[in-house]
Symmetry: D2
Subunit: 322 residues, 4 copies
């Protein structure tokens, strides 16, 4: 295991100031993950993701003071995919102060037949900002507010992680676009209810770009630090109010892991957000942020080793929110 | 406001040993609740509930050491209704060690068209133990294990609260039975999938009895104390393992307030369970349990002043889990 | 093949007055049915039906003048099951003159997830009188009007067919009751909307009795004769107005064969009603009524050889309504 | 009332050869329609349709020999809208011989929440060719087979009616496109299942063009003549086999009038297809074809006076298929 603070990583090595209190626990977890019977299967609709070795595993912890350390492939960039939705949500909330909630709900979806059905029953208002339909609304609003939703998300990740190399991966965005009919259907359907402001092709382009951002466990654990610090960014300024930060955590807990949010809350007990790239971020409010990556997914699209590692983390440390 | 420990209440007055640290905040909240524009409407299908004054309000805090104190109508018994489901769940889990989860899920329902639809898609396995269908499964299992599900729940409430006067209200159970066709439909439907073991009429009788238990905010705050103490009962013995207690809290957070679980997590940020009698219990793990009562309900069946008071509590104290 | 008129069958042999114009065509069809690759599978939830040989086949034609003739097992009694719903519907319409349509619709269900879902969306009003929920409403009304819905249906079959031996089969009714949870769920659910007037157990008893009636192809082809005669019974009196008879035929065409009504209209092109006992009746208005029986069912619950035989009949005779 | 045969209309006046047997009955109906209390409301999302006077009424009868006559506005061109789907279906069937049915079903939709929900349950295969999703599949196939689906439909109408002036109305197609998000959602959604072959924008352009064709009652009654003649075109050649013609009629009867197909079968008892332009065609196999037009619609999108006039026609003539 290596470790470093965010500031150090951005420039030159410097002595870490953090406690590294979870160093031994994450090493233990990494060893346990080697023995998993089934690591799941990588997402297959994006060629660059499909080839990943499902046995790869990385985990990083970022403490509130910006110290970050990890184990395994914790510095390996991977496709953030839906994890980017957390940052897009935070930016949209910080800029529009809650108008967003007129166009997207905060309730779990709970629908194994996915969101299109529910979207029709609920007149084009998606249930929450983390299902695809809701994330499209968030990107639509952020694009309207800033003119470059995807760029804003990338820049937030860069600034909070101190890693200026974080960027889009055009081939991944292109793969998403090639399989984009379902997202196009969702966007047009919401547009038919007046709940999308951009032209659908422009919205989809921004959305696929946002999802194509590549970052490492170290980057994402640091970048999500504001959610463990009551909304405060790495530089001490406020991205969100304390109340807003809690609310984002609440939405992550109830809606952050697709159809398995209840199971995740039950097993892990932390606000978390997964992506089909195999990453999951999780927040221990006031204590630390975690990011784990392993590309093999379960049937619901969550990283098998990722969920398992977080489950072990809260079991070993007693640090769930419950 | 008056206050007392559970032990004291059960016998003779004794000096409270607790901190009463939330005494002033709940007084402030009670005053604020007086000024609410709209207190909602009591449930109208049970005559004994329909007549309640929606402006009544009580709130109690129980600390882990058994101290309890409150404000307003905090000693007024009311119909626990769905709050009883938390205690039935805890008892079933403690007795069967997890077999229960074969017949009921842990995912939020998220379905505004309610559970019958979902139940069909999911082959008779209800989404979680707090929607009616899931609670029927819990009562079915508890009845099979103990022969008297409703009596077990009542006795748990009595023991943990120290109030031996807690009991069923037969007229309320009879009113539920008179409007019981929908619950009968749910039970028969699950039975058609083999997910109910009792004869349906016997199950319904047990279920309606369980829901008819009357208790006060003081009683319920004390009785739910084991969920703030990692599963430990008032007498120091374990009802649940620490892990099980956290799991019950997780299910309460994601599924405890009908279709409004996401909203409740967002506004209040605590595991909570409401009932159509106007009560809500909420858990601050390691810190205290809360019970609030006000009979006026919002459209989703949660007490208007109850949710508002809990929202204010976490805002004023900063004590949400997020 | 043998043949006889209804009157003849009821008493002593008499010269048939009918044309027997379809005699050769049904013989040809019967031969073709012997060569079917797959005869399907009998319904398995009722023991007395499960044991039937799926290769058995009978077909009868009744001409408007009461002549009846057939081929194969055309005189073999079988369980009418849902075919009885047509007669219940006709009786209810004749007695209440259309009040019935307040509680049940006339639209195809079209829902592969079956009627419980739809019932919830549509507030307890079933889509049509031939899905189980709708048939329960019809029996409920007929029971309320006559005090003995099942007896009325049996008596109508007896009178129109001239066969006084037609009767209930208590073991079949008992088997249905033993697997009756889903129908109980439907009935209670509709009762929760006020769309059932009887106590549910009484309704179910009447309904299961009605479905347990046993009759042969000859009996049913004769008994349905009023639908080919504009509502006129065998004795020349009117059971239904001409308009009502057409309406029953219309409902049969659009809703008579479960989820396969469109396919049946497309292939056969006649008003028809099937039952899980393997029977199907079909109406050629003004020309004849048909009844076919073969106990092997397809996935949607319609007799494989039955549908095929009717398909061949309309192809060979050109007698579809289109 | 005036009258003429199709051939006559196309060139010079000629003695009509038809029987005009329904001349007096349609006059009587037209008078009755004047006294309707409520003529409904024109479709409002297409400006050119919204301004129509709901009291306008026309009705035409075409006999199998090509004689056509009518009453009221029977020569007034109107927007065919969904009526064009019948002709697209017939063309696709005639060209691909049934391959079409791999991508679209033949069952009534029966879903008041419309097709998007059902489409998801059924993996992108629409229930029938007359709901929008199914019609998009038909146009997709016809476009793939011919390179100009809309042009083929227009040309069929021209040839069969003998009216070379029938054409698209670009402003109507443009209005449809401006409100096309829902159709775009359907098309992209089916494309996500591989059930659309064209690029979605190209498909939508063809579809909106096809729907924008304007024709009169006289034109449409004549053009649909092949469905009353067992598939035979006006010139004696076969567009469809007799069997295919019957099958199109069956699909019209079970699926031709949106959510009201059961009601239409019950009241009118003829295969029919309506459009939001206020037109309805209906087939009396072997006898005649009817087209009625009145722009005021009921809640389900069918012409109020149109349905009423057809109801009266079958009541007065006894000519329903049942």
């Amino acid at each position: 295991m290596s470790h470093t603070s965010a500031a150090a990583r951005a420039s030159s090595p410097a002595p870490s100031s953090g406690s590294h209190r979870f160093s031994s626990v994450i090493h233990r977890i990494a060893e346990e993950m080697n023995t998993l019977d089934d690591h799941g299967t990588p997402a297959d609709y994006i060629p660059m993701l499909a080839d990943a070795d499902p046995r790869r595993f990385g985990m990083a912890v970022a403490e509130p003071d910006g110290t970050v350390y990890g184990v395994g492939d914790w510095r390996q960039p991977f496709s953030t995919q839906s994890i980017s939705k957390v940052f897009a949500l935070a930016l949209a909330l910080s800029l529009d102060g809650g108008q967003l909630w007129r166009g997207v709900g905060r309730e779990p979806s709970g629908n194994p037949f996915n969101s299109l059905v529910q979207l029709e029953y609920e007149n084009g208002i998606p249930r929450n900002p983390f299902i695809n339909a809701g994330a499209l609304v968030v990107t639509d609003r952020l694009q309207a507010l800033t003119g470059d939703a995807a760029g804003q998300v990338r820049d937030l990740l860069r600034t909070e992680s101190g890693n200026a190399a974080i960027d889009f991966v055009p081939q991944v965005a292109a793969s998403e676009a090639a399989f984009g009919d379902r997202n196009a259907a969702l966007a047009h359907f919401m547009a038919s209810y007046g709940n999308i402001t951009l032209p659908v092709p422009a919205l989809l382009a921004a959305y696929f770009r946002q999802c194509s951002i590549e970052a490492s466990c170290a980057d994402l654990a640091l970048a999500a630090g504001f959610l463990a610090r009551g909304g405060v960014r790495a530089d001490g300024s406020a991205l969100l109010t304390r109340s807003q930060a809690k609310q984002v955590n609440a939405v992550m807990l109830t809606c952050g892991t697709y159809d398995a949010a209840g199971e995740f809350a039950y097993r892990v007990g932390l606000p978390g957000k997964s992506g089909v790239g195999g990453g999951i971020i999780a927040i221990v409010p006031g204590v630390c942020t975690l990011c784990v990556w392993s590309p093999g997914l379960d049937k619901r699209g969550n990283s098998v080793a990722g969920v398992s590692a977080l489950d072990r983390f809260t079991t070993l440390t007693g640090l769930s929110v419950f």
